[in-house]
């Protein structure tokens, strides 16, 4: 009689141990610690918009897929279109006819298509030069392609205590980015020296003159004032002149950057959904550009060693905002 009563308990314990073992194995297998989503407040239950079109351009398929995954089927009717394919010519006209459709555009080409061909609300992401998308009076909002600068500044200071002055070179339309950077830097006991550039040559020119005054450079992903050649020259010059560079693309680490800071696709997708939900609920005063809340820091250990930085416990980690 006692044995019969203990059997269910044993099964539960066994199952619990099994689940724990599986979870533990998964944790150990990952090279990069799995990103544990931060529990957020449950979305407000809003009436589901009938359709969502996810427009993406070349190179953003992964982000599109992540976004689509974050939108439940029972809540949204999602259609994904790559605007650079031939198929989009057939699909886009039919999508335009549907009323109430919300377009989520990933990448500037997709955002332009959304702006030009759709009349409904548009949410964009992965667009740095977003200024042309705004100011049209339409309901166009976006998720910043930049990582949260306050998190970045604090993390940089944490891993590189010697850094004090950060350089920043932006094109003229991104002047408010300077303000954000200065604010974020100040919170991390850093100062920002900035220059406005209009071409890649000028960017390099300005950087060489700025280099003696700074410890680090915040390289922003502005395609208009950067080129592959200038990136190489700049990173080489920075390394030889003791300037640590924080870049926006992991691929630039092998060119000599100290670290990269990029938003996570999951967090970007989450932020996009939040904006989508807000639109659906008729939220007002949504900022034009919403910042994501976490970023991934990846460190070039060789460059760190070149600069005499202490070795961090890991080469990549996620930093999350407390918001």
């Amino acid at each position: 009689m006692q044995r019969r009563q203990d059997a269910p308990l044993r099964c539960c314990v066994f199952l619990l141990l099994l689940v724990t073992a599986v979870i533990g194995c998964n944790r150990r297998r990952a090279a990069i610690p799995p990103i544990q989503p931060v529990p957020v407040s449950a979305p407000v239950s809003v009436p589901l918009l009938p359709e969502v079109a996810i427009l993406s351009s070349d190179g953003y398929a992964a982000m599109a897929a992540e976004l689509k995954k974050s939108l439940p089927r029972e809540a949204y009717k999602v259609t994904s279109v790559d605007v650079d394919t031939e198929e989009s010519r057939r699909i886009l006209p039919s999508l335009r006819e549907r009323s109430g459709m919300v377009v989520i555009a990933i990448g500037l080409p997709a955002a332009r298509v959304a702006r030009d061909r759709f009349s409904g609300p548009v949410i964009f992401s992965q667009v740095f030069n977003y200024q042309e998308l705004l100011g049209s009076g339409r309901s166009i909002r976006g998720v910043s392609a930049m990582p949260p600068l306050d998190l970045l500044a604090k993390e940089w200071k944490k891993i590189d205590p010697k850094v004090r002055r950060i350089g920043l070179i932006v094109a003229r339309p991104h002047s408010e980015l300077v303000t954000q950077a200065e604010k974020a830097a100040k919170a991390a006991s850093l100062s920002v020296i900035h220059e406005v550039s209009s071409s890649d040559r000028e960017t390099l020119y300005l950087f060489k003159r700025m280099a003696p005054q700074i410890d680090g450079l915040w390289l922003v992903p502005d395609d208009q004032i950067l080129s592959p050649a200038v990136l190489r020259d700049l990173l080489n010059y920075a390394r030889s002149h003791g300037v640590r560079v924080c870049v926006f693309n992991d691929a630039l680490l092998q060119w000599g950057a100290l670290m990269s800071a990029t938003p996570t696709p999951v967090d970007t997708a989450r932020t996009l959904r939040r904006l989508l939900d807000g639109m659906a609920n008729g939220a007002k005063n949504t900022p034009n550009l919403t910042t994501v809340s976490e970023l991934v820091i990846r460190l070039n250990v060789d460059v760190a060693g070149h600069f005499g930085m202490p070795s961090p416990p890991r080469a990549a980690w996620v930093v999350r905002s407390d918001r």
Partner: protein, 719 residues
């Protein structure tokens, strides 16, 4: 100064006046050549290297400027900034080789230009269309493209496009930067004028200094090397003076002590050679001054000794005596016992004479069986005493030869030496005459010279002949006449005999007149040498068909081979005149031939080795037996004329001639008949197999060699 004079002067300076090369100059010349060659190669290498360095430098700077295009293009992409050009100005100040920088718009027109002094008011010439097209096409190229254009002098222009580039896509945070698409915008061109002339001038100046230093080093090394080499070769140059003296014939030469092992071997060899030369000189001197058979002084030495004694007596007023010793009947002993016995007698006699005199007296062999003693500082009685002692010693001397006992006796003539009134040869002649008197008075006695009228006249005559012969020898007044010999079987003239003549005021005379005086006064050797030399010379001057194979016979006196250098002299004359030895035939007496048959004479051997032939003159009148014919080192037998003159009438002469001919033929000798004066005689000689004929019938002696035409008819010679 002409070029030729300059060359001669340099040559004289380098090689000296005698035209001989200097070892030091040769070594230094080689050093100079090698060093000069190395210097030239070094200079060429420097020049080539400098050019290559300059070129590489230019290429390096071109690459540097390519990297600086970003800085140089600032005025284009920093138009909003006023200090962009200033920055470039400050930039180019750091590089002295930058002459100017010009910016061009995309169409090639000048945008602005600066040089070291700032902006240039006159901007300059626009870019050529071709250059614009070329540079435009290279906009965006990696590595940055630079067009190099050569300007005048050492100036260059480097031109490159200035462009901006940007990513084609906004999403740079997602892209692979190596494969991302970009777009370019050409802003214009920049041209940098570079002037490396000052750089190259400075470089070339340094190169010139280096070259000059090299040349100075070269000259210094040559000068120092010359001094060092001269010093190092001093051990060799110190040998030059003693070697020169040895070349001149001096043997009292001293060599410096060698300081190096290389010269030690040389100096040792030279010293050994010098010792050998000195020994040889002593030996030759000994040969010249001594008689090889007896060891006594030679006639040559006697004359010089007597000259000194005559002068000494004249100066000091002392009295000396000259004794002329002639062995009695020596010829008989020589002919009877043979020449080896005769030589032994001579040696015994010489020993006796040496032992009979004092150490400071002088004993010489005058010739043959004649000896001369110089008794210094003696009175007449003392001289007689010595002479008597000699006679006694000789009488007591006996020699056993072939079972016979021979006594050696002599006759002695003594002449006093009191002053320089009479010369050496006259005193000798006086002593000789006294000796002749002693012989005439019975031999084995001493006679003092008393001047009798006849003797005095004879002596005066002999002395006159002596002077005449000397004069003739010095002034080429001796003559040679040539008498032909006919080859009887062929009837051709292939042979001549050289006959000595003396030119006098009374005409040309034969040797029988003056040769006795020559023999008395020791001139025979000179006459022999004169005859041999001029005979060879006459042969050398003969040319044409007549010269081919023509042979010349030369008579030699018995004294000819007394001089050990006679054979060498003959060899030298043959070489000097280019005459083959087989064209010379020396005629010697039968006595000489027999003597050489017994004692192998080096000089006869030497003459035969030269190819010369030997003929026995007046064969048949000596006492030698026919057995010597087998051993005679001769080629011809000249049958004495006494057997030929009466050959047509005398059976004895015919038999003798026939016998001589047969024996000679059997011995492998050829025969010559002298005094052939008729056709009948010639015919008989042909019949007996005589090879050659000589005489008035064949031809008389003439003054010119080789002109005789045979006048004998063929019938005369047919047997």
């Amino acid at each position: 100064m002409s070029a030729k004079d300059l060359r001669l002067r340099i040559k004289k300076r380098l090689f000296g006046t005698r035209g001989r090369r200097s070892l030091i100059v040769d070594i230094l010349s080689v050093q100079l050549l090698i060093t000069g060659g190395i210097t030239l190669v070094a200079l060429a290498g420097l020049t080539w290297t400098s050019r290559a360095v300059v070129q590489e430098n230019l290429n390096y700077w071109a690459e540097q400027w390519a990297g600086e295009l970003n800085e140089l293009g600032a005025p284009f992409y920093l138009r909003s900034r006023d200090d962009a050009v200033l920055d470039v100005e400050r930039f180019i100040q750091k590089y002295p080789e930058i002459e100017s920088v010009t910016w061009y718009r995309p169409d090639g027109s000048v945008f602005t230009s600066i040089d070291k002094n700032g902006p240039v008011e006159r901007p300059g010439v626009p870019l050529e269309a071709g250059t614009v097209a070329d540079l435009s096409a290279k906009a965006g190229a990696r590595p940055a493209y630079l067009l190099r254009q050569n300007l005048e002098g050492k100036r260059f222009r480097l031109s490159g496009p200035i462009w901006t580039e940007s990513f084609s896509n906004d999403g740079v945070f997602e892209m692979d930067p190596d494969r991302a698409k970009t777009r370019s915008e050409l802003l214009g061109f920049v041209g940098v004028n570079l002037d490396f002339s000052s750089y190259q001038t400075a470089f070339l100046k340094r190169l010139e200094m280096a070259s000059l230093a090299l040349i100075v080093l070269l000259l210094t090394s040559w000068i120092v090397g010359r001094a060092l080499l001269k010093r190092a070769l001093r051990p060799l140059s110190e040998l030059q003076e003693p070697l020169s003296r040895i070349a001149k014939g001096e043997t009292d030469v001293l060599f410096p002590d060698p300081r190096h092992k290389e010269t030690q071997a040389i100096v040792t060899a030279l010293r050994d050679t010098l010792l050998t030369l000195q020994e040889r000189e002593r030996h030759l001197s000994h040969l010249a001054n001594h008689d090889s058979l007896t060891g006594l002084y030679s006639r040559h030495r006697l004359v010089s000794e007597l000259d000194g004694e005559v002068a000494s007596c004249a100066d000091s007023g002392t009295r000396s005596a000259l004794c002329f010793v002639d062995l009695d009947q020596f010829k008989y002993i020589n002919d009877t016992c043979g020449h080896p016995a005769g030589d032994q007698f001579l040696r015994l006699a010489a020993e006796q004479l040496r032992n009979a005199v004092r150490s400071n007296d002088f004993v010489a062999r005058f010739g043959g069986d004649e000896f001369v003693l110089l008794l210094r500082n003696v009175s007449k009685s003392q001289a007689r005493e010595v002479a008597s002692k000699i006679l006694t010693r000789m009488r007591n001397l006996s020699h056993v030869e072939k079972g016979h006992v021979f006594q050696l006796q002599c006759s002695i003539g003594v002449a006093a030496i009191t002053s320089s009134r009479f010369g050496t040869h006259e005193i000798i002649a006086q002593a000789d005459m006294a000796c002749q008197t002693a012989k005439a008075n019975g031999r084995n006695r001493v006679e003092f010279y008393n001047v009798s009228t006849k003797q005095s006249e004879r002596m005066v005559q002999d002395v006159e002949w002596m002077h005449h012969i000397r004069h003739a020898l010095e002034h080429e007044e001796l003559l040679l006449h040539y008498q032909p010999l006919m080859h009887i079987p062929t009837g051709t003239i292939s042979h001549y005999e050289a006959l000595l003549r003396l030119k006098t005021a009374e005409g040309v005379i034969g040797p029988q007149t003056f040769l006795p005086a020559a023999a008395r006064f020791g001139l025979l050797e000179e006459i022999d040498h004169w005859v041999v030399k001029h005979s060879i010379q006459a042969l050398s001057e003969l040319s044409g068909d007549d010269a081919a194979g023509l042979r010349l016979s030369i008579n030699l006196s018995t004294l000819a081979f007394e001089n050990p250098l006679f054979g060498t002299k003959v060899r030298n004359w043959l070489q000097e005149y280019g005459v083959s030895g087989d064209r010379i035939c020396f005629e010697i007496t039968e006595q000489m031939a027999v003597r050489f048959a017994v004692n192998t004479d080096k000089q006869i051997t030497m003459l035969r080795d030269l190819g010369c032939l030997i003929a026995v003159d007046d064969f048949g009148t000596g006492y030698s037996s026919f057995s010597y014919l087998k051993q005679l080192p001769v080629d011809y037998l000249k049958i004495d004329g006494s057997f030929i003159r009466e050959i047509t009438r005398s059976k004895v002469d015919q038999t003798m001639v026939r016998m001589i001919a047969e024996v000679a033929k059997a011995a492998g000798l050829q025969t010559v008949a002298e005094y052939v004066e008729s056709a009948a005689a010639l015919k008989l000689l042909a019949k007996y197999g005589i090879d050659y004929a000589q005489g008035f019938y064949v031809g008389r002696a003439t003054a010119t060699l080789g002109v005789t035409k045979l006048s004998v008819s063929d019938d005369a010679v047919s047997a």
